[in-house]
């Protein structure tokens, strides 16, 4: 589990929190959490950004509320309470999306309600928000949400480019014949396999240099 630095007084500490969430403890590539939405919605950049934003919102809101009630909730029922809080915010997202962005709601399908069971959110609630003050929990939610969004964007750019030769629906490289398999299920598995291998390699190289 990620442990953000204890103090946020200096700006370098705040910077450390960001590198922690975006790179060192990236929820997708390093902690390997939230795999289902990661693979399911990254077939286009538009879906990935929308899912990232929705998860970010739920993550920040649930972290704040869980941090606020952390001393009121008995230990035995905490998980159930967290799930209920998360489900409430997910329902807000779901209804808002249905009302204002119906086409997006259709293309994300059941993965909008399934944000409830995204392990990143429950993991942050249990590992961070239940033990820390409100502002820190909010920042933690924001950073982890950004790390998730970043990972989704990276995967979706690769998949949309290779799979349909488009970025955000616009034509990309002229004359390149797209490989449809990349926007289908197998492509999702292949893309994350090689991105994860690359991330691990870079991390290991940095580690040996420091040592």
């Amino acid at each position: 589990m990620a442990h953000a630095p204890a103090t946020l007084e200096s700006s370098s500490a705040a910077g450390a929190v960001f590198t922690e969430g975006l790179w060192k403890q990236n929820p997708v590539f390093v902690q390997v959490l939230g795999m289902c939405p990661t693979l399911a919605v990254t077939n286009s950049v538009r879906n990935a950004v929308a899912m990232g934003a929705a998860t970010l919102f739920v993550l920040v809101c649930s972290n704040v509320l869980i941090s606020l009630v952390r001393k009121l909730v008995p230990k035995q029922v905490r998980i159930a309470t967290y799930i209920l809080i998360i489900a409430t915010f997910v329902t807000i997202v779901q209804l808002t999306m249905k009302a204002y962005l119906p086409s997006l709601d259709r293309s994300l399908g059941i993965f909008v309600p399934l944000i409830v069971v995204n392990c990143i959110i429950l993991a942050r609630a249990e590992a961070y928000a239940s033990k820390n003050k409100v502002i820190r929990s909010a920042i933690d939610g924001l950073v982890m949400g950004l790390g998730f969004t970043l990972a989704l964007c990276l995967l979706s750019v690769i998949r949309e480019l290779l799979g349909s030769n488009k970025i955000l629906g616009l034509n990309a490289v002229p004359g390149f014949k797209p490989m449809t398999v990349f926007i289908l299920a197998p492509g999702g598995f292949f893309t994350i396999a090689f991105v994860m291998a690359a991330v691990t390699t870079i991390r290991n190289r940095k580690g040996t240099r420091k040592a």
Binding site: V32, L33, M35, C36, L39, A40, I79, A80, I83, L84, A87, T88, V90, T91, Q94, L95, I110, P113, L114, V116, V117, N118, C119, L122, V181, L184, A185, P186, G187, G188, F189, F190, I192, A193, F194, M196, A197, A198, T200, T201, N204
Partner: protein, 203 residues
Amino acid sequence: MIDVAGLIGIVISAILIQNFVLARFLGLCPFFGVSKRLSSAVGMGMAVVFVMTIASIFTWGMNTFVLIPNDVGYLQTIVFILVIAGLVQLVEMALQKFSPALYEALGIYLPLITTNCAVLGVALINTGINQFTNKGFTFLEALVNGVASGIGFTLALVLMAGIREKLELAHLPKALQGLPVAFVSAGLMALAFLGFSGLNFFR
């Protein structure tokens, strides 16, 4: 009148064409987490089939008899996750009391299932609009879909565990060891399962 052909269509679709793991991307956490050993994969698979079946029955009932008549369909997500969490807890306690042997076999996997998106996924698919009838499933269809989806999940999990047990002996580049190679194997399996999408005989 029971539409047997329709039910068979649902079974084939849930297991092969729209396999929960390999086509729908549901339940990936246990798929990669519990697929290192064949024996634990079988245990997890059985637990998922069990919980999915019960969850299908209860969430369908909840939706049809409580949520829709009271016009509170927007509470679906919250109600379903609570029903599933409660059910898993109940199943765990009941197994512990009445079937210690089965509890021994499934026990450690049961708590993990609450946050398995495949279970909430099957509940949402059962009550949502589906490709077969353009409306929600009937009770029997929901039940069949729940069982078949669980079997589909188990099939993918067991196949994956078999592959990963063999992969442990393979010489791999350092970067690919562990999860990346598991993702590649899953991709190849998904590619194979893509072949089943030609089976469109009931549409």
